[in-house]
């Protein structure tokens, strides 16, 4: 009984404080206009989840902000950055978003997965900030909010390129192994659509969970369907044993095993198994890409895969440019200029780096930023178009380069 009373008191004191604060709460439509202040960039990316696939994105945001500030910042002030851990759970992610919103972010970069972006988009945009993701590819996010942008290409075009390659190699049947998450599911759907359009019969589709102890069930099931070709839609982190099994044990080769952008990465398996395997990566120029990867590795030497790092970098750069064009750090004002700086304006000048673009903007010229993820342009629904793809292939040392 005493315990109950004590508990009641303690809880009521804690709660009472809250109620008291609520009672004297003031309310307003929006926080003070932050036009004069510095551009505050928040980033919600996974630091502890998804087998490290998000870590390159974290470094990419660091690199982008450093480059912006080295080039003089935005509207006369340095860009401020706050990175928080999204984990893979909504509960901690929502917390992290709260802290970004309270901090006063004008732009929020993230989230990593399409599913999580759907969970946090209303929270971010309600605060008047704009959300730019460099890695959301699910078509269900298209046009979800006027303040939501993404610089990652939807996988549909890559799927079309892969289907084209499969037909070019002379295959009429294919099997798909896909990672069971937002990215993998959306890609798999696009892949099936592209194969159907090309007349390629999909004879087996298998999904795997990233927490499973092994993927032999999936590999065996697609092998049992005896496809002429297999497309592997999985992160490099999970693909090692599947490539070992498909190439080493089941005799698939670089002529009938195809990789997705995220499957291209660094492996610790025998390099001869990887030799010749191909996949498409978005990006204009392989040399620029290699240079960028070096910068990321300088930030975090443990990085294994770089998928979506370029588009996340672009997400930061393009929103900073939009802020310069808008002469304001206010989220809505920045959002209004996003399409323009990506090449939506008539007679704009193409530019490739932040400094170059910022100088042009300062001189009063309209710019068309084409970033690391290839040509970058926001369509009316804030999705990105104009992506360029290059075909990459592994050499005999286990690293990949643009296919000859």
């Amino acid at each position: 009984m005493a315990a109950v009373r004590r508990g009641l008191i303690t809880t009521l004191v804690t709660g009472g404080l809250v109620v008291a604060l609520t009672a004297c709460s003031s309310s307003g439509d929006a926080p003070e206009e932050k036009t004069g202040g510095p551009l505050k960039v928040g980033a919600i990316l996974p630091h502890t989840a998804y087998a490290g696939a998000g870590e390159a994105l974290v470094s990419a945001v660091d690199v982008a902000v450093e480059e912006i500030n080295a080039a003089g910042g935005v509207n006369g002030g340095k860009v401020e950055l706050k990175q928080v851990d999204s984990t893979d759970n909504n509960d901690t992610a929502v917390q992290a978003v709260d802290s970004l919103v309270t901090w006063g972010s004008n732009v929020v970069i993230g989230a990593y997965g399409s599913g999580m972006s759907g969970a946090i988009v209303s929270k971010i945009t309600e605060s008047g900030a704009l959300q730019v993701s460099g890695s959301n590819t699910s078509s269900s996010l298209t046009g979800i909010n006027p303040l939501y942008f993404r610089t990652a290409p939807t996988d549909a075009l890559e799927a079309a390129k892969l289907a084209d390659l499969v037909v070019q190699d002379g295959h009429a049947t294919a099997a798909i192994i896909a990672q069971n998450d937002a990215w993998g599911q959306a890609f798999q759907k696009s892949m099936v659509e592209s194969f159907t359009a090309a007349g390629v019969e999909v004879v087996a589709q298998q999904q795997f969970n990233t927490t499973d102890t092994d993927y032999s069930a999936q590999v065996d099931a697609v092998v049992a369907a005896k496809p002429e070709s297999i497309v592997l839609l999985s992160y490099a982190s999970y693909s090692g044993s599947m490539i070992e099994s498909l190439v080493g044990t089941h005799g698939f080769t670089d002529k009938n095993l195809y990789l997705s952008n995220s499957t291209l990465g660094k492996y610790t398996i025998k390099p001869s198994l990887l030799k010749g395997l191909r996949g498409f990566l978005a990006g204009p120029d392989p040399a620029v890409e290699a240079e960028f990867d070096k910068k990321l590795l300088a930030k975090n030497p443990n990085l294994k895969s770089f998928a979506y790092a370029g588009s996340t970098y672009d997400a930061v750069i393009v929103s900073a440019l939009a802020a310069i064009a808008a002469k304001s750090a206010d989220g809505k004002a920045v959002a209004a200029k996003m399409a323009e700086v990506s090449g939506g304006a008539e007679g704009s000048t193409k530019c490739k780096a932040f400094k170059e673009c910022a100088d042009l903007l300062a001189a009063g010229t309209k710019v068309d930023y084409d970033g690391l993820s290839g040509g970058l342009k926001f369509a009316s629904n804030n999705d990105v178009t104009e992506t360029a793809y290059n075909l990459y292939a592994y050499d005999d040392k286990g690293s990949y380069a643009v296919a000859p």
Binding site: T48, Y50, A51, A53, E55, S139, T142, T154, A156, L157, A160, K161, D164, V167, G170, H171, A172, T173, E193, T196, A197, A198, G199, E201, V203, Q206, Q207, F208, T211, D212, T213, D214, Y215, S216, A217, D220, A221, A224, A225, K226, A236, S237, Y238, G240, S241, E244, S245, G248, T249, H250, T268, I269, N302, K304, G344, K377, A379, S380, D383, T385
Partner: protein, 425 residues
């Protein structure tokens, strides 16, 4: 145009939903970039050369080409997006097609997510798709399941022994498996030791890891006389702490254990890497050794005595504390070995053991808590169910098979397959 008997399939008019959502005139390609190219094959997957290919817009012929000796025709340009009819006439083709004609409708869509030139495969006859027979698939899955079952068993025996002597369910046991996998990776991949040597060293280090856990956490807690449920909840905390620490030091990525390859063994329909068979061999030898030791060894007998009745064992002169320590060492070593084998079977990552933990629990409980032979049998049942049931259920639900068998068996026989009745009380 006479409709051919072969016009029966591939009338695919595509309804790409995203097309509607993505009107982007700015992205339009120049008109001369639109077109069709493709490949013509027969039912035996062989290219058909010399066939005439026409692209028609309604009844108007837009362009034509002839397939080359690889069965390909090059880009036939069309003025722009829209639905076109591809007509293929095999009159002049090599082979025995008797002038069959094929017709396929294909749509070119103006969208940033499709290509302006569509690469098309057309087959002259429906190819007879060969698939592996059900028994072949079953055999392959059974061997995989047996392999997984042995892996679970090696790890789970330790869990079961710890339960027998310390009486609590150790949620941190998965981390001992992870420890073995990560140590094996460092030894085999980073230091370049041969796989077998790396496995042996990792197993010994795993023993030390088990010993360290006992000294650092469990002995002090036993001395404090905390309850079993407290121990269980503490083990959850320890599991979380160790797992995050491993992530901190090892990183989040999964990695292949070794570049070493022993080749592939084909036994009838079952194709597996030789390392998997070697792993199974090692598992069986180790499991048999542990079984014999428990049954006939002096310490093994003492272990069973403690599991049976701790107080009685203590009064009969069994050094309970010493035996408990030995059991922790053994549990750590076996878990580490299991981690190495799992790493060879698949990959190593900071949460590999944690992901296996629930299947270990299932194996232990299915066999009857605290009985070693039962644990072995239970683990193999769990492994087989997990891998075989994917023939019927989607592979991304495969753990459901292993866990469901646990729930179902407990409904019928709460003490597990080999457990004694009084254990459930």
């Amino acid at each position: 145009m006479t409709p051919s008997k072969a016009i029966r399939w591939l009338l695919a008019v595509l309804a790409l939903a995203c097309v509607l959502a993505l009107p982007s005139p700015a992205a339009a390609a120049p008109a001369d970039e639109w077109g069709f190219r493709g490949l013509l094959r027969d039912g035996e997957k062989q290219p058909v050369s010399g066939a005439a290919v026409q692209v028609k817009d309604g009844d108007t012929v837009v362009g034509s080409d002839t397939t080359d000796d690889k069965g390909r025709w090059e880009i036939i340009p069309v003025p722009g997006p829209g639905t076109y009819t591809l007509t293929i006439d095999t009159t002049a083709a090599s082979g025995h097609f008797a002038g069959d004609e094929y017709e396929v409708d294909k749509e070119l869509v103006e969208s940033p997510t499709t290509l302006p030139v569509l690469n098309v495969v057309v087959s002259t006859t429906e190819s007879s798709q060969q698939v592996a027979s059900f028994t072949d698939r079953l055999a392959q899955r059974a061997v995989s399941g047996f392999n997984l079952g042995l892996l679970i068993a090696i790890a789970a025996i330790g869990l079961s022994l710890v339960f027998g002597t310390s009486r609590f369910t150790n949620f941190a046991h998965g981390e001992s498996v992870t420890f073995g996998g990560l140590t094996g990776f460092v030894l085999a991949h980073v230091l370049g030791l041969p796989l077998l040597l790396a496995a042996a060293v990792a197993t010994v280090l795993g023993g030390f890891f088990g010993y360290a856990q006992d000294v650092a956490f469990w002995r002090p807690l036993r001395r404090r006389g905390v309850s079993l449920i407290t121990l269980m909840i503490a083990s959850i905390g320890i599991s979380m702490a160790i797992r995050s620490l491993m992530q901190f030091s090892f990183g989040s990525a999964s990695r292949g254990m070794t570049e070493e390859s022993w080749g592939t063994v084909t036994l009838g329909p079952v194709v597996m890497p030789a390392t998997s068979y070697a792993g199974m061999g090692i598992s069986i030898v180790v499991l048999a050794g542990v079984g014999l030791w428990l049954k006939h060894g002096r310490i093994g007998k003492a272990t069973r005595a403690i599991a049976g009745n701790t107080a009685l064992a203590a009064t009969s002169g069994v050094a309970v504390d010493k035996i408990t320590r030995i059991v922790w060492v053994l549990a750590g070593a076996l878990a580490a070995l299991s981690g190495v084998l799992l790493g060879v079977f698949n990959q190593v990552s900071f949460d590999m053991g944690f992901n296996l933990l629930l299947l270990m629990f299932a194996g232990v409980i299915l066999g009857g808590l605290g009985t070693s032979f039962g644990t072995l049998a239970g683990s193999i049942v769990v492994g087989l169910c997990t891998e075989i049931l994917v023939l019927w259920i989607p592979a991304d639900m495969k753990y459901v098979g292993g866990l469901a068998v646990l729930v179902i068996v407990l409904l019928v026989r709460p003490q597990g397959i080999f457990g004694r009745r009084e254990r459930i009380g």
